[in-house]
Amino acid sequence: MSPVLDIAVRHRLGDFLLDAALTSEGRLTALFGASGSGKTSLVNVVSGLIRPEAGHVRIEGETLVDTERGIFLPKHRRRIGYVFQEARLFPHLTVRQNLLFGHWFVPRAVRKPAELDKVLELLGIGHLLQRRPGALSGGEKQRVAIGRALLAEPRLLLMDEPLAALDEARKAEILPYIERLRDETRIPIVYVSHALAEVARLATTVAIVEDGRIAACGPTADILSRPDLAARPGAPEASSLLTGEVVGFDEAFGLARLQTRAGPVLVARSALQAGQKLKLRILASDVMLSLEPPADISALNVLPGRISEIGERTGTGGSIVHLRLVCGEALVAARLTARSVEALGLAPGKAVHAVIKSVSVETA
């Protein structure tokens, strides 16, 4: 089977050279990178807003662009749903007309009856139908924009920083809808972001974009914990991603016991339900390593594991080292001083215990 995404393009925009190649099998592929790294240019190539000088774009085996074979499908025939950073709803149309805009242009041969009700329910926008975009909040606009793209029956959904223009409360309002989109529809998603938290929560595959190139591409948990990527200047801190299922509670202290592939983890209970699945993210700097199982320590989580990788020394004066361990079946990233690495005599293959405070575990 062909990969969901198969892109290799070269395109010059003024002084900027986009020279990116990636393939992805992910249901939600995140393009992650700083502003100006070329993420938006790349999705514009995929959507047909930019015609690349050379290269190809294939989606699930279907060629949209291939300069060698002289193929360039114009944007209106690509059937790619594009959710822009600034919603871009049509101000002269009602929400309902905006939503059905793309459906109208779906070729008759492939057109299915509009699943308006399903999309309204999925995005929680049923009460907005008769309004005009001018009367919507930022979060509502963005959800309508997502619905509009979905109803065009796209073969791929592009989301270019759909949350960047929103405040934290609005972001929190939309994130669950994007998760449902990822899990409940068959449409693969390409999600552009420079916010690590969003990427960690949503992405199944991550491509790191840097100066118009793809610096790395792979499964999210792998990419985010890689020592060599974390060591690059300006890179966000490495982190471990775990999926946990709530298996029990410590009622007296308000804690929840989670089963993860790295072992059992205790976190603050908050509003968790038994059986609920959730994502955990642990920053590398919040992980301590110990050679012996620590006794009399306040941290509640001790995960036995083995060191798999030790990165180069980085930071000013080479004081920092990024490491990666395998705990159970999961990858755990740790960030230590070079001195500690030396003092403990850490080396690949060595058995260690990762010590993590429950309050350092971010849940989403």
């Binding site: 600034e86 002269h92 793209a149």
Partner: protein, 232 residues
Amino acid sequence: MNHWLSPEEWTAVRLSLIVATTAMIASLPLGLVVALLLARGRFWGKSLLDAIVHMPLILPPVVTGYLLLIGFGRRGPIGQFFYDWFGIVLSFRWTGAALACAVMGFPLMVRAIRLSIEAVDRRLEDAAGTLGANPLWVFLVVTLPLCLPGIIAGMILCFAKAMGEFGATITFVSNIPGETQTLPSAIYTFTQVPGGDAGAMRLTLISIAISVTALFLSELMARMVGRRIAVE
């Protein structure tokens, strides 16, 4: 009305309205195309087209009228073509008055429409494209509705200019009562005869009333459209 205005005056009012309306409607399609070309087109000779369109605005109206007379008169190259192929005579007919008014109002109409097209957010057009609309549909369902206020403004400006056109009209088609004597020509005629002041004043008042009504209507329409496309 008929007690207040003499039949001749009434004829001049009616003729003016017909001439101005014809000029406005007839120049709209070409005005749209030219405005679109000037706003969006990238082609050789664009500044030349721009200059030609604006010519009637800067030339003395009499000069424009005289050029029309040379070009569109019965013996003129274009006038002869129109007569031979379509049987249309322009010189010294009301149709000629409409042509003169259309030519004079054209730059105003193009200007208004062009500005409104330039103000349309191209990113909305891109969005429509990714939703499957081909360029023609994008123009029809996104660009055109969004610049509707500008189109209305352009039409009203053209109409108002046509109502007031004097120099080019009188030069091209003269001042024939019942055929080419529009409101301004009629007022002019009244001022040239002894005791014509009352008539001139009556027509002046009517002229003011029509202009104010046109302005009011355009405001009303622009507001109706504007409310529908309130900017995000």
